[in-house]
């Protein structure tokens, strides 16, 4: 996206221009939904997270101080996903506790049904959580390895190695 376009969108969003918000959804809606979906494997949760992300974007747009808009949006998306993970972990603990008390089997909190889980999703779920997130971040955010490694505060060699290993394994799982 040309830098000029980005600036215009940001200025418009800061002014509260609804057309600029709509443009932001056009640019990031599908990409961020794909990112959330590939990480959660659940359409409903992904829609909720997407909605949470865009509301947060409106609230935080005044704090955007230039730089890569892709990086800024996906850093926020990553934070929202991690918040969701923490919430899910708490919920799972509570459910485990509850089921232990009632001597029941633990309930699953995710998954809209078997039809929603495609071959790719099944393969992705076999990857390490961190590697899966990294591959999805790179694919959907379109950030460079350098930008991703900076965002994750890890050496670029580590990022490269994780992505390479992860994608190789994903291909093996899909074959």
């Amino acid at each position: 996206m040309p830098q000029n376009d980005t600036e215009q969108i940001i200025i418009g969003c800061k002014r509260g221009d609804e057309a600029c918000f709509a443009r932001l959804i056009e640019i990031y809606g599908n990409r961020c939904f794909g990112y959330f979906f590939r990480l959660t494997g659940n359409k409903t949760i992904s829609e909720d997270l997407l909605s949470e992300l865009f509301v947060k974007l409106v609230e935080k747009i005044s704090t955007y101080r230039g730089g890569s808009l892709d990086g800024w949006v996906f850093a926020m998306a990553s934070n929202i996903f991690h918040d969701h993970l923490r919430f899910k972990q708490r919920q799972t603990r509570l459910l485990d506790e509850h089921s232990r008390r009632l001597k029941m089997q633990p309930m699953t909190t995710e998954g809209d049904g078997p039809g929603d889980v495609d071959k790719m999703q099944a393969a992705l779920e076999k990857l390490d959580d961190d590697v899966r997130e990294l591959i999805m971040m790179r694919y959907y955010s379109q950030l460079s390895f350098k930008e991703i490694s900076q965002q994750r505060h890890e050496p670029i060699g580590t990022t490269l190695s994780k992505v390479h290993r992860g994608l190789k394994m994903l291909r093996e799982l899909m074959e």
């Binding site: 509260g16 609804e18 918000f21 709509a22 959804i25 809606g29 599908n30 990409r31 939904f33 794909g34 979906f37 590939r38 359409k43 992904s46 829609e47 997407l50 909605s51 865009f54 509301v55 974007l57 409106v58 609230e59 005044s62 495609d118 071959k119 790719m120 591959i135 790179r138 694919y139 959907y140 379109q142 460079s144 390895f145 350098k146 670029i156 060699g157 490269l160 190695s161 992505v163 390479h164 992860g166 994608l167 190789k168 994903l170 291909r171 899909m174």
Partner: protein, 170 residues
């Protein structure tokens, strides 16, 4: 979806491995990317997108309202600070002159009266002070006459009676 033209992968990987290994790694990454493109994730429904647009508009209005409110409160705060500063600057000279006057009187008034809050006892103390001062003045004036300095009270009385008698005789 990934924009691989952004960076030269082979060059980047060559910094960490030999040229052949870097070439193979680039192929692995490109195949993985192709696989992700071939199995795209679903897209959000148009209803969801429409709902998000409404939520964004509402959030924007809330944000705008909060900003306006914040600015109003900031302006009120500044105005209040200015008013307080003006009042303080007007009151300060008055207070200073009052303090100075009180200070001047404080030198004359005895400490126990100055410190006390009981008005009746203050007046009693002041009266006692005045009486003692009167006595001192009287005794001093008697002493100052010189001629009478060696006379006792009886002789003084006799002299007064004699003076009184002479006055009436003319």
């Amino acid at each position: 979806m990934n924009d691989s033209t952004k960076e030269n992968l082979k060059e980047l990987l060559a910094g960490f491995m030999d040229s052949d290994a870097a070439g193979r790694a680039v192929q692995d990454i490109e195949r993985g990317d192709r696989l992700l493109r071939d199995f795209p994730a679903p897209k959000p429904s148009q209803n969801v997108i429409a709902g998000i647009k409404l939520q964004m508009a509402a959030a924007s209005r809330r944000q705008h309202h909060a900003t306006v409110q914040h600015r109003i409160w900031a302006a009120v705060g500044v105005a209040a600070a200015i008013v307080l500063a003006s009042v303080a600057s007007l009151k300060l000279p008055e207070q200073k002159s009052a303090e100075q006057t009180a200070g001047q009187y404080a030198v004359v008034i005895p400490d126990r009266v100055w410190d006390g809050s009981d008005t009746t006892s203050d007046i009693t103390v002041l009266s006692a002070e005045l009486d003692s001062l009167e006595k001192e003045i009287t005794s001093t004036s008697v002493d100052e006459t010189g001629d009478n300095s060696n006379l006792n009270v009886g002789e003084l009385e006799m002299e007064l009676i004699e003076t009184g008698g002479n006055l009436w005789k003319g």
